[in-house]
Symmetry: C2
Subunit: 216 residues, 2 copies
């Protein structure tokens, strides 16, 4: 019944680490990468709104351009696939309507049947208190995708390195995100660790479970 054992899950999460040096000669096989793209698409989000685009950069020249705005971190250009998690800069009624239209199509119902749901979302994410900072709400959703992605990759034995150290405004310019209403929220390099990456062998640093988990 259970598709994975507890130890398979935990050993994968133990195997994972923030890869500092990727082996630039190794490429993620297409079928493995397709599964990771599907995993990204299946990420849960608030209300199911999916306020994101996943920009997958494999073009070497483009990676170099992005690296220049990423504290020159080698992971950007040496990884196999570089993922930019772009999110909506502002939620609007139009975005909610796109989602409602798509949901209606998938579920074979009329959009009108979802008027209550539509109104609730608009009241909250567009005109409500969270509408004031909907870019932040969107960014948080991208971090769910990031968490899902890194775990999925580890389970398929693909290495990753999450990246917050980059200049979003420069990324937005290079990737043409601004006119489309998107902004780069966070990134993740994916590929295979280099044998020379000494960080792979260092013991993982986590606070003790008793320190961060509290049962009430």
């Amino acid at each position: 019944m259970t598709p994975i054992t507890r130890s398979a899950l935990l050993s994968s999460l133990q195997w994972r680490y923030a890869t500092k040096i990727f082996d630039a000669t190794k490429t993620i096989p297409e079928e493995t990468w397709q599964a990771l793209e599907e995993a990204l698409v299946l990420t849960p989000s608030s209300y199911g709104l999916q306020p994101w685009r996943f920009i997958i950069v494999t073009d070497q020249e483009l990676k170099q351009k992005l690296r220049a705005h990423s504290w020159n971190q080698a992971q950007v250009s040496d990884c196999s696939h570089y993922v930019v998690f772009a999110t909506l800069s502002k939620m609007s009624e139009a975005e909610i309507d796109k989602f409602i239209a798509h949901t209606a199509k998938v579920r074979g119902v009329s959009p009108d049947t979802m008027a209550g749901y539509r109104g609730m979302m608009i009241k909250d994410i567009v005109h409500g208190p969270r509408g004031q900072s909907s870019h932040e709400w969107s960014a948080r959703q991208a971090y769910i995708a990031l968490g899902n992605f890194m775990t999925a990759a580890a389970l398929l034995r693909v290495d990753t390195c999450p990246m917050e150290g980059f200049a979003p405004a420069e990324y937005d310019k290079i990737l043409g995100l601004t006119p489309r209403g998107f902004t780069a929220a966070v990134c993740c390099a994916a590929g295979y660790r280099s044998e020379s990456d000494k960080y792979a062998a260092l013991p993982k640093v986590r606070f003790d479970l008793e320190h961060v988990v509290e049962r009430i």
Copy 2:
């Protein structure tokens, strides 16, 4: 080598949905829950700082109290384990020092050897631009944990429902988080779906892969 097949991963993510009705008579077995707690602890975070506490609520009376401040959503009280992802309200040099001390202990080195790393983190997350909104930086990290948790749970065939619809200030009061410098960032109910939950059978709504994934 790979601990899981692509189809095991994707079928688990397809199986997952935001559970609306939990079977209140079912409890997650202790060994399964322990694995999920370990998965939470293994979540990656920015700089490895782990600015969180995972509050696991199983006490029925407390669940009811929280439900009253969660738009009265039944998932809060009907689930088996209710997780409150609490994050640091403000990053400080003291928090960075706790992490440095722990890292030094785990890796068997002197904290002094990490002075550069310490300085970089403080310059960024405490005194830098991100220090102004470090509560938001912390909250984003909690969403990585949320993404990891929901995927891990699905792989172990545990149902979840992420919850943003709650009053953080009330949660902070009830759980005594404020004096400790923490605040409730997001929550997740975990347990087993009720057979009466019609949402389980609805087709999953996702934008087409071609719409949200862009390869460059």
